[in-house]
């Protein structure tokens, strides 16, 4: 889904970037040509013309000494430009090399320099500048050296943190294994990656220096009178505010517009040079057509969940929508475990989330029905969905260390659900939470309830997540790859726990996994998904003994423990296509050894108790590939 460039986004970026850079280019031109462009000498006094309002002779009026405001503004722009570039240059030249050096070198150097930086940063910036000016004396260039030194700490910290972050990247490890020297790693491998944040920091610094220079000149420590700078002009304006309030407008607006342009340009750069954003797949072939559901079936009496003809679309960044799930139908009986199997990007997780109504803002259900315990969910309001969630259907996620809130204790997180959903008192809820923690096989439950998620191992955190999901006795539990992030021996414990809890709580489970062997272990029935559609559904024994879809058969034979032969091991050629590039007709056809001309048309799902989406399912014999 991280595909396709963002047209609307690009357009809005250009809408900002073009005026911002136009203003800055204008500023540069005006500054260079100040002598020719300015109508008057910025220092020429004429006391008879003091404090005039704007007129044809003086477009922006005159100040207390009768000097032309427009001319002073233009020459002030030159000062602003030169000084901000000067200070930023000093900051970069001082900060970046030192930051790179201490970041890569580490140890004592790093410690000492960072303590010094901390000390400088803990003094208010303006005060550091004032002190440096106290040493060097007032004046523009001295003030800029002061600001350069001050802002070099920002560049130093930036360069250092980039080096520290990149140093941990695997590609740096790889470069060391190749035998690249430290200097080579720093200059050739790490340095190019510092450019994006550096450019952004430069724009931020130019803006900040402009503001600081104006501030220092305003209080009389920067540009000295009678020199024209935006800051000194504002000083004059402040003094004569009661006589001519307009004096404050031109220099103030000049500062705001310039700083705003620089900052906006920085924002645009940040959004466009960020890593990984450049991923782009050209909008290619017509998006695949897909079969609208042809069969309609009603939920049976003992069905907990009945999904019929489900289609889910997500927003592409260019504003168009494309389907990620099409024509999906299945049902789960009370107390049954149904497996949803397939590789990454086939739509398994979205299926789980669409049952809960939690696809997120980027996606929506466009067709089909989701019937949970004889209630139609697709037409439910947010409030109605909130009542169903937790009570009727709950979910366990893939990574237990990220699916628990790091800021609350685990007992708190279970008790909260019990309080909110079951109306228990604080005390009751806590007692029940401890009971549940005990029930999922965690020793010393009262003590463990007070632990924060990061204090638990992955397996233990997943047990907590399961306890929370089951706290309100839901009729359906959606388990999204609940063992994928765990070690294999822990996976076995968790799978046993699921089965054990199902005996006690009697809930049905929708078990989403990419691992066919896990499905073989825990499921009663299995649905195999490929590229957003169901390709095969069968009883677990049947599916593993005699897969009927070539994709199922291919996956089975590719499992590491499917055989103990030496390579070449069986493979499926190619890779799973991204949703926008699904072929018309059979979506597996490009990777299938059995595909024919006829596979280019739409293929429907056939069968009742066991189903397959392949026109050659009855004619070819995949056999038991195990």
């Amino acid at each position: 889904m991280k595909t396709a460039t963002n047209k609307t986004h690009n357009a809005s970026m250009l809408a900002v970037a073009i005026p911002a850079s136009t203003i800055l280019i204008l500023l540069v031109i005006v500054s260079i040509g100040a002598e020719w462009i300015a109508p008057y000498d910025p220092l020429k006094q004429s006391l008879r013309e003091a404090l005039q309002s704007p007129s044809p002779a003086h477009w922006l009026g005159t100040d207390n000494l009768g000097r032309d405001v427009l001319s002073r503004l233009i020459f002030g722009g030159r000062i602003a430009l030169i000084s901000s570039l000067e200070a930023t240059l000093i900051a970069v030249v001082l900060g970046v090399p030192l930051g790179l050096f201490i970041g890569y070198r580490g140890g004592w150097w790093d410690w000492a320099v960072m303590r010094l930086v901390e000390a400088v940063v803990s003094i208010p910036g303006i005060m550091v500048a004032i002190v440096i000016i106290a040493i060097l004396g007032p004046g523009l260039h001295r003030a800029m050296i002061a600001l350069g030194i001050l802002y070099s700490t920002a560049f130093l910290r930036l360069a250092r943190s980039v080096v520290l972050a990149e140093r941990e990247e695997v590609y740096v490890k790889a470069a060391r294994v190749i035998g690249a020297s430290s200097n080579r790693i720093l200059l050739r491998h790490i340095l190019p990656n510092i450019a994006p944040p550096l450019i952004i920091q430069v724009t931020l610094t130019i803006g900040a220096v402009l503001l600081a220079e104006a501030g220092l000149s305003f209080v009389g420590l920067g540009v000295q009178p009678p020199g024209a700078s935006w800051g000194t002009m504002l000083n004059t304006a402040a003094t004569y505010m009661a006589l001519n309030a307009f004096l404050a407008v031109p220099p103030g607006l000049a500062i705001v517009i310039t700083v705003l342009s620089v900052n906006l340009l920085g924002d645009v750069l940040r959004d466009s040079v960020g890593r990984g954003i450049a991923i782009s797949v050209k909008p290619t072939t017509p998006t695949a057509k897909f079969a609208e559901s042809t069969t309609t079936s009603q939920p049976k009496a003992d069905d907990i969940l009945h999904i019929q003809g489900l289609q889910v679309v997500v927003n592409s960044k260019d504003g168009s929508e494309f389907p990620v799930i099409t024509d999906l139908s299945f049902s789960i009986k009370k107390g049954e475990t149904l497996g949803l199997v397939g590789e990454s990007g086939c739509g398994k997780t979205i299926t789980g989330l669409s049952i809960l109504g939690l696809i997120g803002t980027g996606g929506r259900v466009t067709h089909g029905t989701i019937n949970l315990n004889n209630t139609e969910l697709t037409s439910f309001s947010t409030q109605q969905m909130e009542q169903i969630r937790g009570d009727e259907v709950a979910m366990v996620f893939q990574d237990p260390t990220t699916s628990l809130n790091p800021a609350f204790t685990v007992g708190d997180q279970i008790a909260e659900v019990l309080r909110v959903k079951q109306g228990m008192t604080k005390k009751q809820a806590w007692a029940r939470a401890v009971e549940l923690i005990d029930r999922v096989g965690i020793t010393r439950p009262a003590e463990r309830a007070k632990a924060y998620p990061h204090e638990l191992s992955g397996g233990m955190a997943q047990r907590i997540a399961i306890a929370r999901a089951l706290s309100c006795n839901p009729k359906l539990l959606i388990a999204d790859e609940p063992t994928t992030a765990l070690d294999v021996t822990i996976q076995q414990e968790i799978l046993d726990l699921f089965r054990d809890l199902q005996d006690e709580f009697g809930m049905a489970i929708l078990f989403v996994t990419h691992d066919l062997a896990v499905a073989a272990d825990i499921c009663d029935r299995v649905c195999v998904m490929y590229a957003g559609e169901l390709v095969e559904m069968a009883n677990v024994d049947e599916l593993f003994a005699a897969p009927r879809h070539p994709y199922t058969a291919g996956l089975l034979s590719a499992m590491p423990h499917a055989s103990d032969r030496k390579p070449p091991l069986p493979t499926i050629k190619g890779t799973v296509p991204v949703p926008k590039l699904w072929p018309t007709g059979c979506r597996f056809s490009e990777r299938c050894d059995y595909s024919q001309k006829a596979c280019e048309q739409l293929i429907t799902l056939t069968g009742t108790t066991s189903q397959v989406r392949c026109i050659r399912a009855n004619e070819i014999n995949m056999g038991a590939s195990i």
């Binding site: 990454s344 233990m460 294999v488 414990e493 990419h514 066919l516 272990d521 499917a562």
Partner: protein, 334 residues
């Protein structure tokens, strides 16, 4: 080739010193504890273990990415552990690596050509034309083409990125390739493509592999020998077929048993034989006795105090378990 191994590791310890900003004392964490093993030229040793077993630390020590606390690593006449991660170019050229995460192991700011030619730039004085010719050859070996030369890593799928990493690692024709979980981030249908590629390259070039993975079944396909690690120790080592089909150590058995079978009926029978267990939450680091004693279903009283030495196993290899020793009390007499 003779009997002399290409790489020989003897009683290796790798220790990290956990240092927090406020603590004056630092605590040692022993990631690898007294590991000994060897790999012959052109052979593959699979190293299997769960997270925290120290298998990646072992790989990093061989690659000179972390310093060795004690013990020796001898590689082809060179004593690596004495070099303290500063390997001379002659050694670096011979040991290359492929890492797990294909999304962070390639520098995002470099092109495919830069990435694959980087080892050649560092170690050889080829002309630009020669180098480009070789890079194209390497790309074709891993089923990519010269159209990909100027692309950046983010334009490739996980499997393709791993192919690029392999091409770069093979550029210098190393004698040893360390593969740290090379396929675990990939989809099932892509995994075998990479395994097949590695296998084919090994036989064509005669490289030795040190293959680190968490999946015994996967390792077994291309390994000559397999070592199983648990909490920094090697608990079992031996010929791949023997370890996979007749595991001797209770931990190896547990690892194999924990992988669900693809046959639901057999899997049902197997799980009926065991019952739900509480969460494993005993301290990770067993200070005395057998490292596996806290989880072992067959733990003996003496396991609490004595650490079992490696005992020879019937069919080849060793296992550090008293049960193995007791099963073959008179192995010398046979």
């Amino acid at each position: 080739m003779g009997d002399k191994p290409l790489i020989e590791i003897n009683d290796l310890w790798v220790t990290y010193w956990a240092r927090s900003a406020f603590q004056l004392r630092s605590k040692p964490f022993h990631a690898v504890k007294g590991v000994s093993l060897s790999i012959k030229a052109g052979q593959t040793l699979g190293i299997v273990g769960e997270s925290g077993s120290g298998k990646s630390s072992l790989a990093n020590a061989v690659l000179g990415l972390v310093p060795v606390e004690s013990g020796t690593i001898r590689f082809d006449q060179h004593e690596l552990s004495a070099m303290k991660t500063r390997y001379p170019a002659a050694v670096r050229k011979q040991i290359q690596a492929v890492f797990q995460d294909p999304f962070s192991s390639l520098n995002p700011s470099m092109t495919v050509e830069d990435i694959i030619s980087e080892p050649l730039r560092v170690h050889t004085k080829m002309s630009n034309d020669q180098r480009r010719k070789l890079v194209i050859e390497l790309l074709e070996l891993v089923s990519l083409s010269k159209d990909h030369l100027k692309r950046h890593p983010h334009e490739f799928s996980g499997g393709q990125r791993q192919r690029i990493a392999i091409a770069s690692a093979l550029a210098l024709q190393p004698k040893l390739l360390v593969l740290d979980e090379p396929v675990s981030a990939l989809d099932v249908s892509t995994q075998n493509q990479i395994i097949n590629l590695l296998y084919e390259r090994r036989d064509a070039l005669g490289i030795a592999y040190m293959l680190i993975a968490h999946d015994l079944a996967l390792v077994h396909h291309i390994s000559d020998r397999i070592a199983v690690m648990y909490l920094g120790h090697i608990v079992e080592e031996g010929p791949a077929d023997r370890v996979y089909k007749n595991p001797a150590h209770p931990y190896t058995k547990a690892l194999l048993d924990a992988v669900p079978l693809l046959d639901p009926a057999k899997q049902r029978a197997r799980r009926a034989a065991r019952k739900a267990q509480p969460a494993y939450d005993t301290p990770r680091d067993a200070q005395v006795g057998c490292p596996y004693k806290n989880r072992c279903p067959q733990v003996l009283p003496k396991c609490q105090t004595q650490a079992p030495a490696p005992f020879p196993v019937k069919g080849g290899g060793v296992a550090s378990c008293f049960l193995v020793a007791d099963a073959q009390p008179t192995s010398e007499a046979l």
